[in-house]
Point group: D2
Chain length 410, copies 4
């Protein structure tokens, strides 16, 4: 039983892997509308002889490989694309790809500019490899093809669709993401906070309209909004411990229609980031405290309203599985296994393991040889090198699962 | 020669005056689009036997009554309506009146909710009365039916169209406005500042966009805009002498599209009011000083931009003609002649007398018996009482002109 | 009976008046410590044959001239000096004058740089003139030599000492002040608000100390104080009607001892001015509202504290007596009687007439021929021209009282 | 040659070590006034047979052990105490210890509440141990007893006194500090930033005084100061990358004397902290940019003034020597060698190695068994456990030097 055996077909499967990747790359689909993608994933699994394949939610696909006694390892690959046009210039770029957004009814460009197509293909081929070499390991492997990561709704949808009841409870839940911030081909991991908790808050400030020449008859929501924005700066500057990483951004401020009419209200849209649940809680409490107090200072006729949306949980790798995966990476990849710092982005990855009540760990996969100049995720130019990215992504899954599934890890 | 004689037909003309008023009220027209209104004014003048009637600009109408030696008195009545729907409930309300805005091409409701129809009718009937009783006065009377007061463009348009060359230079230029802030039927006047100087300023603040989680890579124009709005409050609070009346209102603040994207720029729309030219100049200098400095504080990549629009001059009644008109009002109206305070509104009235280089004075005419509860000008409910408003408006013009034109003012 | 007769000795008394003025000028005394001043006033009155002289409080002196039937007119002259050194350069300057401040025990320079010595001498000589010509008027004249105007405590002290019970209730209460803001020798008066209501407020903001490198462990009272000062600007800029005159000044801000220690608290000292009681009430409510709300925004461990001190009431001349005095001034002084605007200073003058429940009026007396360059009251250079100031001040009192006391006012 | 041999006398020297520690603890001396301390250090060295002992500056002492070929290792121990009273309750507490501050001439309490007495004793005994066992190592050991750490002046003073010319250039410069934030007896180290760069800045804002009722005649430095303090919050909140640790504290704000006088100026005292030189530079540039711009916004008559003081450099351990010391610590102390995070305090330690142009590393020594409840450095209760602190501090020096000086490190 060995990793080597499981990965023995890595070279021979390379061409078909790249072809499949190009297919998904050219056929991106929006969050929770990944119908063709899910169908193709399912088809690939079944044509590879994998029978236990189920839908969890409309576009979530799960494959289960039951292989005797031993731990259950789940591996997640997210499958959705973004509503933007690709400008990578690759010959397999999704030029002209569009889809109708089911919510708005609008036709929109679509592109895999976050690299989820890498995640699909690597998880497919790692699953096939494990299936092909059942003699080299024991336990259960669960491949979770998760939809809707980009709108923070897909993991919740799979939980709502009963993944916890339909799938064996994992001993560990794994995930990976292709990134431009690591050396090409490297796998990076860290214990503790990896992706920030994020939330958006829409705040409505209720002033009182008046003619601009008679401010005393109104309550000026623009002066109030300015006071709010100004005072919010003290949260990061004074209330959060200097060593913590926290962000409070007011990304949008809209009030008024004319220079000489004091409007009735102002609407602010905020975004918060934190790498610690207590810090996030403090940010939100402080925002509400400050906004309410400023509304009192301004003698508002009505209290402010807060609407939270687009909430992402903190992704904070559990210590024990992270240590096991890090050791396995170091053994297998040597210098190709690196330390990774926290990333100021957010993920809905942790929602499913939290629903299971199981530990998780998540690693990064360097996708660009020229990584110092790599485009960021969500850039229209984001398109990772085909290799070693695709091979390494398959390897990383098998190696990461090996501490639980493989007795002889050489 | 006497005022009484000139006004001897006031009662007999009352019915036709009210009828004509209702006609104009039912047929309101937008600023500088007063084509039917101007045509009807011209028709009324000519049918009254007045020959020297000229257009000055497309919709400006001037009638000149030359009546022997003596001073030249000009009287202005503005003729345009507002782009809003009337809700007065009067049986002669302009229900359903609409017009296509030539600038936007949009159909818009229109209503005489600022009372300019009163001004038209009173000036028409005063002109006719003077024409009918040429033996009772001597000198020259000029009736100026001015378009486009509401968009501050009509007086400028008449100047541009050469009114100064086409009309005898007045010894005094008179104006009146029907108001809800004076007792019904009263005429109110004051020496010095009457209507504020006003200006609007659109300010574009150039920051630098960034992802909301990486504020250090951008220059946040919302935090900058908040600093600007906050700091602008110090102009009125600290820089303007406490006894002065000045207003700086930020009526509109727009920036950003999403909670987690720091936008590139913010756009503010300001309105200023002052009753003194030096104070207005200081307001504008202070606004520019503060905005520029805040942009430096914020390390903006480009300086801010300022666009001034909708500028109204200060309307400040000249002492000498005001004293003469006040005395004439007191003699004729007794307790019905009152003192008036400054009004926090603005007028383009003074532009024409300033172009002529002649003194001016302007009075208010109380339009509501229940004036304590009267709607403000520009309210959808604004519709003055027919009487004594229409009679008093005719009288006031004749009485105000009398110190120059009438030897025996009883 | 005539004003002329009462004032017939004006020229002959001039030398002794000037000499007495110089005496008081050279011997200034602090508020409520005017012991020698009060003694000399009493001595002057008694040596002039006036018998009904009483002390009201330690240093308040009242003389009552009862002269048959008729109204009671009271005239106030304030008598205290300021704790500062005179630098007028006059040969009668109070060079080196000092006094021990009874409160602090400190020796302090003293000077009549507010002109109260003019008030003393003019009131003394007007009283003497009325006493000398009892045949020219009838009624009762009450001369009130009031201490402690500069610390807002003297009028209250006379009320506390029972002036209302000891003195006949006046039909009118009069006052005058020598000023640099009127033409030399002119008397100026206005109906309505003359001197502002004023108050000082000491505000203690309770934060929570911390090391400067750990702001999250504290509540920064300096950031809080800055937010308070900034937000207070909106009261005058947005909450007070633009036409009102109101001032909110933070004159003192003290917090902290070292750069790297966040202090426990900050102390602000504010001063407010208003020419309307409702406006003053609004200022104070708004200040408290804003400060309390900012403390909530800052999560202060304790609410803020407010201590009001140095409160001066509004001095707002009553219409009826003002009209009578204005008419008398115009008759007597002709062009020397002028209109006066509101003065951004404060007085405790109104406290006594308010205690009596009687109307009052107060006028200004121009003290400088070169009034355009005159030093302000409380300037170390403030020293009015001897003449016509002293003569005119005597005249003004007699003329102002004449509508009540003198039948033939020529 | 071995560490063991060098440390073979650790137990037998324990009693005298503790006695010497108690002596220094009871005889604390202020920064740059450590005359008795330096004399005793010198005496201890010489009595231990160490001949090459020199003064560098008035109270800096350096001992040099030349022991054949090999690298030069310098170890620094700081020797000064703090101007405060100890309240540790230890029987060897410095109860009643005072000293005259040479700068102010004032008698002040003094105490070793930062643990520099531990540093002295451990460095003395490590030096003696190395001297006693010259056969166990080769190279040169330099013991630097540095005065004046607490006022950031002692390292500069030794550089000014020529330490670079008087002492062999080290291959590595070492330092240690007893702390309450590590487990008792543990040695903690980290590569990179360890102590923050710190600076204080006194800022004078020049406004223009005025009476509080006439703000328009002045430039209000309190409103300006409030704007500055408020705007400074945006540096940490928006300009510094969220992952960086930076602090801008305004610890003191002083302006004004009375509620109703607008003062001429305001004085702010700021303290900054950063763990990166570029970040510190950015903080200072941003502070100056914002303050200058706010002064322009306020139309200040003169630009602001900035005075920097109490500057501490960043202490950022060099990678290579840190890796060597960490490895040596792990080998020798096992679990007693721990990782350490950045400390929000500052040190002048790096000034001397920077003057030499040599790399350095610095570690922490846990001083309290009950470290979770240990008082912070500079607390009046700070007094480390005698043991294992004193023994471990000697060991740590020898072990840390061993990679350079000792061939067989067992």
């Amino acid at each position: 039983m060995s990793i080597k055996k499981i990965l023995s077909g890595l070279a021979s499967s390379r061409d078909s892997r790249e072809a499949l990747y190009k297919h998904f790359h050219r056929h991106p689909e929006l969050s929770l509308q990944e119908h063709a993608t899910a169908a193709r994933i399912e088809e690939e699994l079944r044509s590879g002889g994998i029978d236990e394949v189920l839908r969890v939610g409309a576009t979530g696909v799960v494959a289960i490989l039951r292989n005797g006694d031993g731990p259950v390892v789940a591996m997640r690959g997210d499958i959705d694309a973004l509503p933007m046009a690709e400008r990578s210039g690759k010959d397999y770029a999704a030029v002209g790809a569009t889809q109708t957004d089911e919510a708005s009814g609008r036709e929109t460009p679509v592109a895999h500019t976050c690299g989820h197509d890498v995640h699909i293909v690597c998880l497919l081929d790692a699953t096939k490899a494990l299936h092909a070499h059942r003699d080299a390991w024991s336990g259960t492997f669960v491949a979770v093809f998760q939809p809707g990561e980009e709108n923070a709704a897909g993991a919740k949808a799979m939980v709502a669709a009963g993944i916890v009841d339909k799938v064996p409870k994992p001993d560990v839940y794994l995930g990976q993401h292709v990134l431009g911030s690591l050396p090409g081909g490297a796998v990076g991991i860290r214990s503790g906070p990896l992706f920030s908790a994020a939330a958006s808050i829409e705040i409505t400030l209720h002033g009182k309209g008046s003619h601009g020449s008679m401010p005393n008859l109104g309550v000026d929501p623009i002066v109030l909004g300015a006071a709010v924005v100004t005072r919010l700066q003290t949260i990061v500057a004074r209330e959060v411990a200097p060593k913590e990483t926290a962000v409070v951004t007011v990304g949008s401020f809209h009030a008024g229609t004319k220079s000489n009419i004091i409007p009735d209200s102002a609407i602010l849209q905020l975004n918060t980031r934190a790498f610690d649940r207590d810090v996030e809680r403090h940010l939100h409490e402080a925002i509400e405290r400050i906004v309410r107090a400023e509304c009192e200072a301004a003698r508002c006729p009505r209290p402010p309203e807060f609407r939270y949306y687009d909430r992402y949980p903190l992704t904070s790798n559990h210590d024990a599985p992270t240590a096991r995966v890090r050791a396995a990476f170091q053994d297998w990849f040597g210098d190709g296994a690196v330390d990774m710092g926290p990333v100021p982005a957010s993920e809905d990855f942790s929602i499913i393991p939290d629903a299971f009540g199981c530990p998780y760990t998540y690693w990064g996969l360097g996708g660009f040889a020229d990584w110092k100049n790599a485009p960021g995720n969500h850039s229209p130019f984001f398109a990772p090198d085909l290799q070693p990215t695709l091979d390494r992504g398959v390897e990383a899954i098998v190696v990461a699962a090996s501490p639980w599934l493989v007795a002889d890890r050489q």
